[in-house]
Each structure stands twice: as C-alpha cells, then as structure tokens.
Symmetry: D2
Amino acid sequence: MSGRRGPDRGPDSPRMWGGVFEQGPSEAMKALNDSLPVDLRLWRQDIRGSRAWVGALRAAGILDPDEESVLLDGLDRVARRLEAGAGVGADDEDVHGLVERLLYDEVGPLAGKLHTGRSRNDQVVTDLRLWCLGALEDTGSAVRGLGRALLAQARAGLDLLLPGYTHGQQAQPVRWGYVLLAHAWPLVRDLRRLEGARQACAVLPLGSGALAGSGVRVDRVALAEALGFSEVTENALDATGDRDFVAEVLFAVTMIALHLSRLGGELIIYNASEFGFLRLADAYATGSSLMPQKRNPDVLELARGKGGRVLADLVAVLTVLRGLPAGYSKDLQEDKTHLFDAVDTVLVTTTALAGAVETLTPVPERMLAVLEDALLATDVADLLVGRGVPFREAHGIVGRLVRRAEAEGGGITELEPDVWADVHPMLPDVMGGLGTFEASVERRSVTGGTARRAVLDQIEALEGIFGV
Amino acid sequence: MSGRRGPDRGPDSPRMWGGVFEQGPSEAMKALNDSLPVDLRLWRQDIRGSRAWVGALRAAGILDPDEESVLLDGLDRVARRLEAGAGVGADDEDVHGLVERLLYDEVGPLAGKLHTGRSRNDQVVTDLRLWCLGALEDTGSAVRGLGRALLAQARAGLDLLLPGYTHGQQAQPVRWGYVLLAHAWPLVRDLRRLEGARQACAVLPLGSGALAGSGVRVDRVALAEALGFSEVTENALDATGDRDFVAEVLFAVTMIALHLSRLGGELIIYNASEFGFLRLADAYATGSSLMPQKRNPDVLELARGKGGRVLADLVAVLTVLRGLPAGYSKDLQEDKTHLFDAVDTVLVTTTALAGAVETLTPVPERMLAVLEDALLATDVADLLVGRGVPFREAHGIVGRLVRRAEAEGGGITELEPDVWADVHPMLPDVMGGLGTFEASVERRSVTGGTARRAVLDQIEALEGIFGV
Amino acid sequence: MSGRRGPDRGPDSPRMWGGVFEQGPSEAMKALNDSLPVDLRLWRQDIRGSRAWVGALRAAGILDPDEESVLLDGLDRVARRLEAGAGVGADDEDVHGLVERLLYDEVGPLAGKLHTGRSRNDQVVTDLRLWCLGALEDTGSAVRGLGRALLAQARAGLDLLLPGYTHGQQAQPVRWGYVLLAHAWPLVRDLRRLEGARQACAVLPLGSGALAGSGVRVDRVALAEALGFSEVTENALDATGDRDFVAEVLFAVTMIALHLSRLGGELIIYNASEFGFLRLADAYATGSSLMPQKRNPDVLELARGKGGRVLADLVAVLTVLRGLPAGYSKDLQEDKTHLFDAVDTVLVTTTALAGAVETLTPVPERMLAVLEDALLATDVADLLVGRGVPFREAHGIVGRLVRRAEAEGGGITELEPDVWADVHPMLPDVMGGLGTFEASVERRSVTGGTARRAVLDQIEALEGIFGV
Amino acid sequence: MSGRRGPDRGPDSPRMWGGVFEQGPSEAMKALNDSLPVDLRLWRQDIRGSRAWVGALRAAGILDPDEESVLLDGLDRVARRLEAGAGVGADDEDVHGLVERLLYDEVGPLAGKLHTGRSRNDQVVTDLRLWCLGALEDTGSAVRGLGRALLAQARAGLDLLLPGYTHGQQAQPVRWGYVLLAHAWPLVRDLRRLEGARQACAVLPLGSGALAGSGVRVDRVALAEALGFSEVTENALDATGDRDFVAEVLFAVTMIALHLSRLGGELIIYNASEFGFLRLADAYATGSSLMPQKRNPDVLELARGKGGRVLADLVAVLTVLRGLPAGYSKDLQEDKTHLFDAVDTVLVTTTALAGAVETLTPVPERMLAVLEDALLATDVADLLVGRGVPFREAHGIVGRLVRRAEAEGGGITELEPDVWADVHPMLPDVMGGLGTFEASVERRSVTGGTARRAVLDQIEALEGIFGV
C-alpha cells in the first residue's frame, strides 16, 4: 500500500512529488533511496518545525486563523499517532512525506497548504539542527556525569601514591587523584567544544526554500525565536547544502570518544594483574565462556574501541562533503546515519564508563609495591642543581648513578655511601636529604603539579564545572 | 527476565559465564556490551559451526553417538525457532549465548557439553568467516549484474560518438560504449579482489580455543572440510585476534563503492541538462517536494555519496586494529557493525545502479551537438608528425592554430586556408585530410583505443567475465 | 660525528640524555626516531620559549643576572646561526637537542642550566602551540583574501542571471553573485572555527615538566604573559600528553579545505564547455602535453583533491590519539608532520584559488542561454497558491504542465493557452502574469533569498568581515 | 630561468604545453600545481619508460635507427645528469617536463619526437607502476627480515613460559616463542597481499595516450615485455584514470603498518617494569631529557603510532578517488605524496622494529614470577569434563573454586583438599592430577596450539617462508 505510487498526493494517494513522472520508483531504487528507517527518528523535530511554519504562513497571510487552527490540531493528532508507532515500517520515502501523509489523513486537502514556500531541503536541515541541539545537551550531561565520577575517585585517591608513566614506563611518583584528573580536564575541553557546536547549530535555515529563498515572505527572525534558534542563515543556497554543523557536532563527539578511549586504555593497563592498581566492580566486568577464572574489562576495551567507530562517522561525513557543489545534493542524506550513530555511541559509552569509574576500587598496596626508587632520580638531579651543578651535568651524574645501581642489582637509595661518592662527591649529602616519595610529590607544587594543595585546587575548580 | 543474571547456566538460568562473579552486569554495562542486536544475524553460521563442532567432539570421543544425535536434533530445533524469530529482542549477551540457551531449552544439561574445548573467541571468528564467504559471493553476483548492464548499453552505444573528457574538459572524440566500458573494467579488478578476499576468509580458526589451542585434540582439517574452508589457521593466538580477513573484505567492497561513486559521479554530469547526454528512467529518478519540474538523479548521487560511508567502515575497522595485542580484545567486537553495513550498502547500491544503467536512454543528438572541432587538434598534430614535424613542434603549431580560431570566434576547421597557411605552411594540406570525428576515433586502433574493432574486442572479453 | 654518541652532553659531546646508556642508538633506530627534519621548523618557537624560560629561572633564583644575560646573548647567537642554516642536515635527535647543542657551542657548560626544571615534554608542546598561533593567523588572512576575491566577483556579478542547481540539475534562476556568496559564507564559519582553535591553543603548558609539574617553582602566569598565552594548563600529566589543540587546528583547516573543494568542484562544472559559464585566466589554467587545444582547470581540481589530503592529516592525528594513556608517549611525535602538511596545503591552495577566482571571467551569454523556462515552475505553483490552490495540489498541476510541455518538445511558456487551460483552468491567467527570470529572482526577497536587495545585504555584511 | 615561460618548447624555452596560452602560470598557481618536488623521485622510471617508448616508436616507423640511437644516448646522458643532482630545485612543472627539457639540452629539436603518441597521462601512470613494482619488492624484503628476527627469538624462546593474555588479562600459560609467532603469521598474510598488489601493478598502461589510445599503432605487448609488465591495460580511458593499484599497494602496506603497531603495542606492555618480560638493547632504547633513569621504548611507540600515519595515507587516496569521472583528473596528482610516504614509513619502521626484536633480551624469571595458578582453571574444567561433567557445569564449578581462592587470598592450588571437596567432590582428585604450567601448555597439542611440537611445526613452516 505504498503512498508513493499514486499520480499526485491526495487523501488516498499521498506523495510529495510525482506530477512530472509517469511511473513510480522501482524496488531497487526505493531500497537505496528511502530514508525513513533512518530519519523517522526526526519526527518530533519535523512536527515542531511544521507547527512553527504554520504560524509563519498565518502571519504571512497564506493561512487564515481557521486553517491555522485546523492544521495545528492535525499536527497534534499526527504526533500522537507517531508516538503510538504509526511510523514504524511505513512505506513513505522519508519522515517529511510520512508526516504530510498522516496530516492528509487527519485534515484532508488543507494539508496541501503546509508545504507552501517550504522545501524538504530547508525542512530537513531545520529538523536536523533541532535534533543536534537536543543531542548536544544530552551529551554534555553525560560528560559531566563522567567528570563527577572521576572527581569522586580523585578526591578519595588524593593521598594514594603510585608511579606516573611516560612512554609506558615509570617516570615520577604521582597521586592517584592526580592521574584521574588528567582524564577529567579533557572533558572540560569537550564541554567547550560542545558549546561551540551548539552555537554552530543554533542558526535557522527554515525559509530558505529549495535553494533560492522561500517564495513566501515569512518573518524568519520570528521563526527562529519560536524554535529556539539564535540567528538565521544568510544565504539560502549555502543554508540548504551546508552540513558544517553536522561535522562540528561529529568532531566534538569524536574528541569525547577519543578521551574515553584514552581513559579506557590507561585503566586496562592498571587493571592487568601485573599492575593490579584497581579492581572493577562485578557489575562492570565480564567473564569468559571458556576460562572460568577470567574477569575481563570489556567496558574499558569497548571505550577504547568505540573511538575508532566514532572517528569513522566523522570521516564518512567529511568525505561526503568533499567536492560537492553548494546547494542540496542527495549525497547529503548520508549525514544522519553517522550523526545518530556517533551520538548514540558516545552517550552509551560515556554512561557505562562513568559507572565503571564510580564503582572501581583502587588497590593502594599494589601502587606502592611497584614504586621504584629510580623514580627519585629527577629529585636527585634537582638537588644537585640546588648546589650549583648545571642541570645537564646533574642529569649525566644521575644517569651513571642509576647504571651503577642496576649493576649492583638494587635501587639508587640502597647503594653504599662510598659508591655514591664514587659517582660524584656531592651525592652522599644529596642522597641523605632525598626523602620519601611523598616528599618528591610535594616538591612539584607549581600550578598543575602533584603537590597536595595543587591537586586540591584542581578538584575545586572542576567541581565548579561538573557539579558535585 | 534476563538469562544472564543467574549464578550458572542451567535450564532456568542460562548464561555462558558467571561462577566467579557475585553480581550480574549493570544496565549501563549491558547497553554498551551486549552485541545481540548486531550479531543475531550470524545465527545460521553459529548453528552450522556448532553442528560441525558436535561432529568433531564425537570423533574425539567427547560425545557418544547418542549425545551427538540429541545435540544435532536440538540444534535443528533451535534453528527452526530462530527462523521463526526467537532471537528478536532476546536479552542474551550475544548470538552464541542465545543459541546455547535455546539448546538448553531443547535438550537440557547435555547442552553444556557443546562448548567443550571451544571458546567464543574461536567461535565468533569462525561464524564471521562463514558469513564473509556468503557475502563475497553475493557481492560478486551484484558486481557482475552491473557489469552486464554496462555491457548491454555499451554494445548498443558502440556507434554513438561524444567528447571524451579529461580534467572535466573535452579532450578527444570517443564512443559512448567506450566510456561505459571504462567503468566496466574496474569491476573486473573488483572481482579479482573479491576472489583474493575469499581466499583470505577460507581459513578455519575453529579449534583455536580462547588463545592457546583447544584442549580437545579435534581433527581441525576434517572440521575445515566439513565447513567448506580450504585451510586451517596455524597459531591460535593469532587466529583469535586476527581480523585481517575483515579488513580485506572491507577493502574489496570499498573499492567497489568507489567505482560506483565514479560511475555515478560521471553520469550525474552527463545527466545535467547542459550536457543532456542521457535520460534516467522514471523508475530511477526522483522529484522535488517544491519544484514540480525536477527530475533528480538521486540514485547516482547516492552511488557517489555511499563511497564515503563504505570507506568509513573500512577506516573504523583499521583504526580499531591499530595497537591491539595479539589474541582477543573486546575492541574487536566493533568489526561486525562495519562489515555488515559496508556489504549491505554495496549490495543495495550496486543493484540500484545496475537498474539505472540498464534503463537509461542515451541522447545521441546531444552528444554530437556538443562535439567541438578542437577535439581534432591531436589528430592535426599527429598528421604533422606524419610529415616529419617533431611532435612537440607540431603541438605548438596546433596550439597557435586553436588560439587563432578562438580569436576569430569559430572552429579550427572553419578558418580560411590562407589563415591555416599563415600559422604553418603544411596546415592547408593537413587540414584537408583531417576527416570526421569518426575518422579520428578510428585512428586510435591500438589495444585499448577507441576504434570500433578495439572496442568490440573489449566487449567480447568482458562478456566472458560477466556473462551475457 | 654525531653529537649524540658521547657519554654526556658537554662542549664536544652534546646530547640531552645518555648517562644510563652504554651504547648509542643504531642507524635503523635513528632513521625511525630522529625528528629533526620535521621539527627543525620549530626553531624560532624553541628559541622564543627558551628565552622566556631563562627569565623564569632567573625570577625563581636558579640563574643569577649574569648567567641570564649570557644565556640570552647565547640564544640570540644560536638564532642567527639557525637563520643562516645551521640546522639543515644536522645530526641531532630533534630541534631541542640542536638548540641546546648550539648553545653549548656558544656559552659552554652554562648551557647545561637551561634545561633545569624543564622537559622536552612541556617544551615541545609549548613550541607547537606557539607555532599554531602563528599558523592560525596566516590561515585567517588567506581565508579573508579568498573571501574578498569572491566578494569582488559577486558584486560584479550581481545582475548576471543563471540557473541555480540542486542535485546537479537546474532548479530555480539565481544571480551569479548569489552563487559566489554561497561559497563565501562558509568562510565566515571557518573564521569562527579558527578563532575557537586559537583559544584552544593559547594555553601555556610550560612549567609542566615531564609529567608531574616542574621541580622549580616558576611563575607560570608570568611565563604565559611573556609568551602571549591567555591561560596556563591545569594538570601537567594532561598538559604534556594533550594534543586536542592540534586536532582542533586540523579540524578547522580540514573544514576550510572542504570548502575549497566544494568551490573548486562547482567551478569545474561551470568551466566545462557544455556549461561555459566562466573562463579561467591563462595564469590559472594549464595545458596538455598531448592535446594542443586543452585549457585545464588544474587549480580547481587540486582544490577539490587537496580536501582528501587535509582530511587524511586529521585522520592521522585522531587515530594516533585513540587509546593512548595520559602523559607523553612517543606516538605523539606524529602530530607535527600532519599539522604542518595540512596548514601548508591549505595556505597554498587558498591563495591559488583566490587568484583564480579574482581573475576568472564570467560569460553572461552562456548563463542566459541555458536557462530553461521550466525553472519558473515553482513560480507558477506559487501563483496558483496565491489564488487559493493548496500548494501540494498546485505542485501536481505544474508537474503535469511540465510533462505536457516535454511531450510537445518545448517550454511551459511556449504552450498554447488552450493547452494551459486543459491542464488547469487557472493556468492561462497565471502564465500570463508569470514574468521574466528577473521577476522570479526578485520574488524571493526573504533574508537569504535571491532578490537584489537581499544579495546586496549579504555583500555588505561580508565586507565587514573580510574587508574590502 | 623557468623553462615554462617561453611560448613553445625549444632549445631555449622548453615546456610541454603552451601554444594556446598567451601568458604563463602565476606564482601562486605554480606553488600549488608544480609537482616536481614530489615526483622527481620517479626520474629513473621516467627514463626507463622513455627508452622503451623510443624503441616502440622505432618499431612503428616514427623514428629511424639514427634517431633512435641519438635519443637513447641522450636519455643516458640525461640520466647521468639527474644522478648528479640536475633535478634538485629545478623549476620544471614535473619530472616529465624536466626529462624532456634536459633531453632538448642534449639532443636538440629531435627531443620533440619523443612525446609522439604519448601523453603525460599514460606516462605518469607507467612510471608509477614501475615504481610500485620496486617498492613492493623492497617492502617484501623488509617484512621477511622482521619475520626472521621474530623466528630467531621464537626458537630461542621456545621453552620460556609466560601468561598468555586476552582482554589484557592473564588467560592461559603459553610459550614465549608462541607469542612471537602470533606476530609472525600476520606477516605471511602481508607477503600474500604484497604479491596480490604486485599483480595489480604489473599491467602496462603505456600506449593509452591521453584517454583514447595512442594515435601511433605501437606494439603494446612488446612494450610490456620490455618493461617487465605481464599484461597491458584494456581501455585507455580507464587506464589513465585508474589508481586502484595505488590503493592496493597502500592497503597492503597499511596492513603491515597495523601489524607492526600490534607487535609494538604488545611489546610496550611487556617492557613496562610491572611486567618486565623483556629488555630492549641500548641501541633501540632512548632516554629522557629530564629524568635520568628513563629507558624509553620509543621504537615500539613509533611502530604503534605510525599505523595511524600509513592508514591516513590510504584514506587520502581513497577519498580523492571518490566521485571522480573516468580518465585523468588533476586530483590524481595527490596519489604520489601518500604512496611514497606510506612505503617509506613502512620500510623504516619495519627495519627498526626488526632490529629491536633481534636485539631484545627476554627475562624468563619475570615471566615465571607473574604466572598465576588461576591460569590452570581451564585445565581443571577440562579434567572435570574428562570425568563426564558437561563443560558448562565444569565452568561454573571452577568459577566458584576461583572465587573461594580469592576469598582466602591465595591460589586455587593452595587451598586445602577439604575446601576443594566442599566446592565439588571430584575436585580433590582433579587438582591432584593437574600438574605444572608446562603440562598445561603441552595439553594443547592441536594444530596451532601451544605444545612444543605444534610450535616447532610453526617455526619450520615459517622458516620456509622467511628464510633462516
């Protein structure tokens, strides 16, 4: 019972185009072309945009008050039918055709006035921008949720010391809370990018018609206000073929996905039994079908892997845009699949990762157990510098000290004082004043450093951003 | 009613792991982790692999004949239930868990013997390779279908002349059939790549266990034969973490998608009214919701745009593979979404494009109308060469000839003989012997050239490959 | 004789690390690892950052005034040597090692004090952010230059009418200036993104040390001011492993590259002789080695093609970031190659395209010649709507009108009045009041439409942004 | 003095096109358009192809024997000049123009006969295919070199036991040699793909002219033989615009790069001191500018990171191909940058990684130290299966056993027999027969398993492929 085969849209043969065609689309063509399975998801935005358009047509004198009221009522009824599932499995070409067909059902030929001065070209991009505005808000909430989970663990882990790593190698001692905050600050940048993307989305294209501006002189600024946009687009040909805002949303969520992948990737390592720094809650671990003892960090691996997926969604849309002329081309239809997939993926991944972070248990004794005293090497060099040795020379001295300790099979603090003296005469004194890992961590009290106060400052700043 | 929450798999609490866990997965974790909505599609392969595995366990003495028969019957019943939709909306973690749970339903605790010596790690990759083998066959058929459509038009268009283009500019006259064949030969390379991918897929991983080889000494070569594989994998750690075959299938279908995009992109240009070289059938054209006169080539634009999508699927999987250790990591779960999407997209696009090509109508009078006589410039240069002028000098002479004609506002053949002579004394003679566009086309009779015989040779060679 | 092989850095064996090593790097390792051929380009930033660091060490009491003065003088001399080519072909590991080695040459062991409290990890990312700030400014200038070229052509082409296209098909009549502006507005969005990227770059990481904050309590806010940054980073582990700012610059330039590709792609079509809407200046066209008559739009094709290259640079960096732990990993070294390549490519392409746009000549007679009267179809429908026909019904009527005209082999305005009446009784009147293409263009007077005043408004707004 | 500015190519103003142009290219245009800095690298191939073309023109009667001999001698002299650096910094548009200009220098106007019947379109793609054939050979050698390094370590590490990992977690005990072989088998697939790419490259396009076939009836099969190709292309329009072979080479090297990234990624983990399974030789490790004790695995991180770069090269070329019409478009010029970069990157990375693998030292005591007895869990389940317990039930029993051991803070083998019995009555017996890790490893004797004989079989098979 395809609504697309009849000659012209009408109560019993609704479709949005056709007068010029003698024959309807082939099955192979419909299979490729119809987008309803993807864009049905936009029905709320489509109804909302259509309601605003009815108001604009009324203000422009195209509709009289009675017609306006009948159409608004009709759109309400259409919304209720769609809420109840009327769109699932429908044979319409797209969500715009579906909504118009249902409106014909409800109000008859008057439905045919709704599309006056409007094109699917400005309609779809209005719907999509509305959808993005909602999606960005949801994504921001999820990101702040993960931020709060990191903050809670960071506060609890303020006094747990462990090795800090560069190149996957122990480098200097740090606080567990400090490491977690290194994954929280990227989320602050994400929130900034989400806000940038929001501004990019909040520009109304409705009233652009197909490419040259609407033939009806509607008040586009009033339309923008009615729909919650802050600006209106300034060139209809650009407005209908522009998908920069989609790219910008995709870039913002790709960066989030990459941050999730970095957090996931790092926690996978800490979760390996050789590190043993943390234990995932049962609710966020998985087992093996073959090996009964396994507790796998699937949530972390998926957070790592999904980065590739979301990145690919960005690549898809950017690739499609390359070389397209201004104005609408059907290639642009690809935008929605990738936009929806990327946002969905980031939402579900952020939420699961927040749960995993919130419920993980750090294992302080493992963190301490692996700390090697070579991590104090930079401190030794700094202390030599304090005694007037140029840093680069101090660096060389400590390098030889470490090699000596390796040769003797122990740590640099475990060598005999005469061995220290043999490496450099100042070393016995310096090694005596070296102090603990805690002292080392406190020595880096510069903004952004590992000292307790510096880390607390970060926590407080982030609580202002993510909430407590 | 999740089957995953009970302590151990059994008739009423089936799941594939759990003994070591005190608590089941959280909802957020399940939303991220469960793959059934994607991998349900593999149930036929999962059943087929399981049937073969039952045979292998029987041969290895793990199952007795009665058990074998009960399990095979049970798997048949499970297949019938899945055929009837039993998997849709199920709460299982993945298709392997679903099949095992249903098998418990059918045969009771004996189902618990099926997974002996097998892991989901070798199971999923066996299922996926089986799926690929089928998908490659389907894709090859679709590609040959498009090849036949191009061949039919090429044969019909053997004698239609039009400009050949480089840089989007008229270059030399060619045959319409010749242009179409330039899009058929890439499909021959595609078929070769599909065959390469098939060989890459036809290697059996079953028997690899989780990472170290099955604990049961099954006959893997017999298993391979039973399932239609030509080889067995040689290192279980590699076999379970290897997705090269997925990448290879994705690369092969990406190249097809790019070829479709090139064909689509070129036909879009020819379909513009300024060219007007062809007309799409109504069944493969679309209209505008606003502009009543429009006949849009959506099918061609989608063919062009889908290239970006399939390419992104390839990027996703390649990105996920980067940096992963050998053996199974959960990141690999991403492979299926992209593999399925890419193959589906290429199948539907190839089929629709084949229909569009088959039903398009060339417009010979437009092709002839736009042919400019400057297209004979290379012929003029070649004729000068025939009289002993070095080619590079001849090239310069003809360049000046063209500039002279442009200045006079006509074609090079329309200049007066004394103007020809003024450019170069040999030109009057040469221009006299220049002949028609047909003569020009026939002049390129080398293999791969535009001469009628050379094009017929191509058609015959391609008919041997695509069928008639 | 490599300066990297000696045991410790000193006047004759300078290198930045080594004490712990018994042996220097192999040739194969150096070939992979050394980054000087790429990062030499950062020497100005490295010197500038080092000068500021000298000041910070002086303020922190690590250097006395004499030492400060010797080091600053030494750095000046190093800068002059590098300006003169001292870095080309050098065997140092990277630009930081090169600068330090040259400084040893100039000032002796005192050079060894410069690296106090600093790591290459915070140094390189400071250099890179400084470089980005300059690159963003250059890119903005180039973009505004292209914007001005478009504006100049748009103003000159305000009254040239041509078909506007959607789906590569004639859709409605528009102004040539309007089409050009559709490519100017994306540049406004680009400028906004460049500004966003600038803010992302203007955060100082210096003082972060290797991962845990500098061991010297330097005044990082003063450092930021000295170097022109607006903020300081807040977590040293994040700061040293963060490349979000690189990704953001790359995304911004990728969007520019895609806009160039869209402009190039559209002009290629208009430049085809079948369209013939424009002619490139000789200075921006190229010839063929074989075909003497060819005038190829290589500049436009390269603008189209480079989009793929810049996009790939973005992909490279995003891919590398996926899954990396916080803090510095050597994988990050890949960032510079792609950043430099993308910015270089966009600069050279934008500049060449601006030249091509500035010097192209539109061909108004060709634009008019191809205008089909079916482009007035939407106007006919709008006029029917003005008489109370619901739009969707009007759309169907006009579709039949177009089909009728096609059947008769002419335009809709060329049919006999009784044929109009046969299609719909209102048509004879409506067709009589239809008017010219100019009238159609003026009918779309909404903001963003094609009416003269609306287009002038755009031009004036853009002049405020790009300059005149 | 640019050879491109004169009116026509000749002894003192050589360029390949120009007659139709009144003015030479602008500086901005040259900066974008000229490809010599990239394609100079093809000069050997260009000379080789030109020599063969001279022979073909002679056979076709275009050149007489004297001319042939002068041109061949001239090309030899050109080659010597290029060998001596004559191309560096030259102002020619591309390598083809450079070679032709130098040939004019050497032999005068006769040089103008060389380009007869040839176009840069078929010339460049011939050069590029020749280059690829050499590059594939070099890449194959490098891959086999890495394969031999892995084999040598694998043979030496045949009897070293360590945990095998899935999901980054200990799973089952394996041999060190077995783990290394899991990274050798992917190289076998790489060699197969390189061979596939070689076949794709070994098809001669020369004789295709610009798009329609050469105007000279040359013997293309003889040309193919002379240049070492196995086939000739079959449609000139396809042949000149086809870059499938570039994509295929790029895909093959991308897969290699991903394999290197997986090997690098895994070794980074084993190299962390918490694992401590291996130590890199000094010649393949790097130090820190700040932290004197650091020994960083830069070579491994670069191997991991370069995967992103090479993947991006593939993306660039695939993106550029999308939507291009058949025949040559200038967009295709982008192919070389990415092809060269990818091959160079893979060669240098493979070689360095081979050196790192060859010289690393495994640390058997660390491998043993971390082996947890929970790794025997699958063996316990298998032994229960041997006593008739269905596997899934056995899996649950062992899960509870592991949980019990965790609760008591020890291993499953360390529990008291009555605790075993409490979990399941069969366990005391089963645990008694469990045996060592060695026994576990030997239990997996299936093809591809961890048993000594199975691993030796792999080594022998690989020695046949990589050489010893």
